[in-house]
Assembly symmetry: C2
Homo-oligomer: 254 residues x 2
């Protein structure tokens, strides 16, 4: 690739997903694109990396301004391979998505989409994870283009602080236009899991996980609240699990 801006794109819904194809098309106006995704869906793979089986890659497209690979890796594997296997320099921007389903609130920790953006942030590459708050292969996404472009252009122009990525969640499509963008915090909202027991044709029991989403966070400045009010929710995110406020208060010497 030449000296144009270099944009790495991945997702966690597999390389055929509507949101991923849409994101690739939207990003080509901003530079050369390398798109790396998995053959199968990698939903809920979080920041997992592949260690038990070898990684396989396949070049599926190479045309002016776009190189596309498919792999058996997770979203984080795909960013790592982009950085250290496919490219001879770091990309200028990493974008992930557009995910079919919310990555707001607690969903962020299960999300391969946001994990991919955070993986880029480790190397101080500006990175954005995009998600739409609606599940399904055929969800409507026309309403997000304007905001994908607006946020991407701002990040291209101004960069992001070191180690910071953006977790961007769009409201599901509705007749009402999106009201705007809010920069907010991750809501304290969680899932309560349920397990459906079934019996296979061989008489063995197995389980499918399900759950209900519980938003118990009443604060006005959360991603969940912004989505509910038809705003785009932008959360600046970083990899630091430390609960800094508790370091000084804990003492194991006594």
């Amino acid at each position: 690739m030449g000296k144009k801006r270099l944009i790495l794109i991945t997702n966690d819904d597999g390389f055929e997903a509507r949101g991923y194809r849409r994101l690739i098309n939207l990003m080509r106006q901003y530079g050369d694109v390398i798109a790396i995704s998995s053959v199968e869906s990698m939903s809920a793979m979080s920041h997992a990396i592949t260690m038990k089986v070898p990684l396989r890659t396949r070049l599926v497209r190479k045309e002016d301004g776009l190189v596309e690979y498919v792999t058996n890796g997770t979203p984080v594997d795909n960013v790592k391979m982009g950085k250290h296997l496919f490219l001879d320099r770091m990309p200028d921007l990493v974008v992930s998505g557009i995910n079919h389903g919310s990555n707001a609130a607690i969903n962020i920790i299960y999300s391969g989409t946001v994990a991919a953006a955070l993986e880029a942030a480790i190397d101080h590459i500006p990175a954005i994870g995009f998600s739409v708050n609606e599940y399904g292969a055929d969800i409507e996404m026309t309403h997000v283009d304007e905001y994908v472009k607006k946020i991407t252009e701002k990040v291209i122009k101004e960069g992001l602080p070191e180690g910071i990525a953006l977790n961007v969640n769009f409201p599901k499509y509705s007749a009402e236009p999106i009201k705007g963008i809010k920069v907010v915090r991750q809501a304290k909202a969680t899932w309560r899991e349920t397990y459906e027991e079934r019996t296979d044709p061989y008489g063995q029991k197995y389980y499918w996980m399900g759950g209900v989403f519980l938003d118990g966070d009443g604060r006005p400045d959360t991603d969940e609240k912004a989505l509910a009010e038809n705003y785009v929710a932008v959360v600046p995110v970083k990899i630091d699990f430390t609960a800094h406020e508790w370091i000084e208060k804990m003492n194991f010497d006594d």
Copy 2:
């Protein structure tokens, strides 16, 4: 199970791992134990959950004070199944490990061990992830027992703040005794990945990921620093990716 203290144990090295068996034995003195682990290693599975294949479980042991299951799930699946499938009440304590290998610094985000503890913290269950800073199936662990007990007893006695878990890393075994416990922050230290290319017997290329660990964090109060000085590193951790300090500074309206 009765009304004794109920302790859920999991890990990410598989149910036969030395560190896991050791942790189960250590915990039985504190209450009734339910141990749930995977048949295979789940290293580097992060906070992944199983959605593409059904979950399978098998009861492998039931004796006074100990019930043990093996599953095909990730560490987070195992905690979720403990909470919502196997038990009719929340456990009083969740402990994970003892992991063979460090979960300090950036390793925390790949770690199934710490993810399991964080998964418990979502429901405000006191939880601890234990890891030793040495890889290998047969590593020496006798030096950690005293500190596993000390930290566990303190958590049992005093609890933990809501939503907070402990990421505990032990130095590798050495002739020098451990110097004590330090409560510290997650170091800014990362991996630089490498990919080893091989060719399979059928002529197809594949890759194994490797890497070198780069500790560029010079601060004195990090987990890496504590381990290097032969201290136990305790980091209070929580699930909140928000970079709070940047919320006010970002504005997408202009």
